[in-house]
Amino acid sequence: MNQVRADVVIIGSGAGGGTIAQALAPLTADGRKVLVLEQGARLRDDEFTGTEVDMARALYQDSGGFLTEQGTLTLAFGRTYGGSTAVYTGTSLNAPERVIRGWDVPGLDYDDVAGRCRKYAEQNHVHLLPDDEINDNNRLFELGCQRIGLEAEQFPVNVNGCRGSSLCNLGCPNAAKMGTDRVQLPAAEAAGVEVVTRAEALRIEDHAVIVRVSRPLDGEKGLPSSWEPGEYRIEARAVIVAGGAVGSPALLLRSGFDRLLPRLGEGFTCHPAFILVGEHEERITNDVGHPKSFYLDRAQEEGFVLETCMYFPFITAKNLTGFGPDHSVLMKAFPRLQMILVLACDRAVPGNRISVSGKGATRVHYEFTPEVRSSLARATITAARIFFAAGAVRVHAPLASPPLLTRGQADQLEQRIRVEEFLPGRTSVSAAHLMGGCAMGRTAEDSVTDAWGRVHGVPWLRIGDSSLFPDSLEINPYLTIMALADRTAEALLADSSALFDS
């Protein structure tokens, strides 16, 4: 096995790992070696083609369809240079004060988190798109909300030079999305941090990481790793795990840390979601322009959030309920479709967790609680009202039976859309806001780390990603991940004497 020495190893290059890489880059000026390990590949700019299946295969774990153990929920998370920041829509919201205070983590101050969110919003060029860049799909959502007395809010987004390809979730083909792949990682590399792609962390040992570097498969997108393929043992003075809410707990479980940390892997939440479509009589602009410009936050009142969205043919087909002629008719109406994503604000509950199999395979266990089902049903009713208010003639609602509702049924939504129609395994549900598994808290009895990402009882091991969330964030998580990762980096720098000089 190849042997490498480093001062700090960061596992993961997404919102967490990328942020930490940049924040720790000044260490390299003192001769410290900082390594970032990314399981996925680094793509050339010309490889971002916007072709649905090819890009999903190149940028996501399991092509964006990682299936839970129950087989009733698919999870989408990035596996590429920049992690999920390369494939999200760039929506950038500050952490909600109510939620951060509700987490009740000693030492986690809301004002501190908010300040760091603002810092990264500025760094990532977060702003509101001008009116003339908003497409019909988004305008109709705002209009529908307005007509039923609800106030849609505009998403601040982290784009710079957006041409409106609508292909954000397939990696921006115009390099306009300011994820860690475009901002923090290049800055870190310019300062001397080394990023190694196609490098899968297999397990963590005492002050060491065991890594497998792979070669590209035939025809696979992406550059080869800068390291030769093979297994490596990297000795490090500090290890920061930032592999996301699925990857981080799984890696620590695979490494046996559950013996010290009984809460490891627990508390997984994900904002389970599905899409509704509304069919209009006339063609609208939907597959051009930024796809996610507005949202409706009903988290506190009703436990859900609605967001505009526009997906690609396969993902749209998969997310509509049913099949056959009715399904086909709707797909053929693509240029006239308005789309809304319905997200439930789930809670950390016993049983929803990450585990690993005897062979080390990652498993996600997730059951839909009655509260989540009710939230999805209420959200579906509200979304259907918005569609009809915006002028849709038909609405496809997964919790209606049959799922197609006509305008004449617009006053019967409460009767037609029923929570009883939520049938796991039939209703297509997916999630992309993956949180928890290495929660912050007080002691190893109730959590995995303290408020600064320090793993209880293991001073050289830190966490810096969404797995730190003790419960659901109830809003798009990226800026909050960056804020928490920034804290993890700051704590490591504060502890650097103890870590590096021992």
């Binding site: 051009v288 043919p313 796991p424």
Partner: protein
């Protein structure tokens, strides 16, 4: 197609037609294109998944024979859809998951084809607004 699925090709195509009626109009190169996408997707998954899918298709074929007295591929598409709808609404999670998985593969194969995208009017372009104005 992969080794496991090649032996159930006729049944798989019959299922695709039930899920996406337009796929009945595909010519042989079109079917090969669809199957190639499915094959590639399955290649990324554990080998056991391929076997499970082939097994599920065989079970559906047996159910068709038992219920309708005809092989799955020989059933009229409407009868195939009726059988699949019944299973999709089943009280057994395993059956619901099975139908969901098969429909996902059929949609993947059919809707990821560039011809299909064009036929449904999907026009996303890397040039964005510039390509429309």
């Amino acid at each position: 197609m992969s080794v496991s699925l090649v032996v159930v090709r006729a049944q798989f195509r019959a299922l695709c037609v039930a899920f996406v009626p337009e796929s009945a109009e595909l010519n042989e190169p079109g079917w090969r294109e669809l199957e190639s996408e499915v094959e590639q997707a399955l290649a990324d998954r554990p080998p056991a998944i391929q076997k499970q899918i082939a097994l599920l298709i065989r079970i559906l074929d047996l159910l068709a024979r038992a219920r309708h007295g005809s092989a799955l591929a020989a059933l009229p598409p409407a009868s195939r859809r009726e059988l699949l709808t019944r299973l999709q609404d089943s009280r057994w999670l395993l059956l619901r998951r099975g139908v969901w998985g098969l429909r996902t593969l059929a949609f993947l194969g059919y809707y990821s084809r560039p011809d299909t995208a064009a036929s449904i009017g999907y026009r996303a372009d890397a040039r964005g607004w510039e390509a429309r104005r």
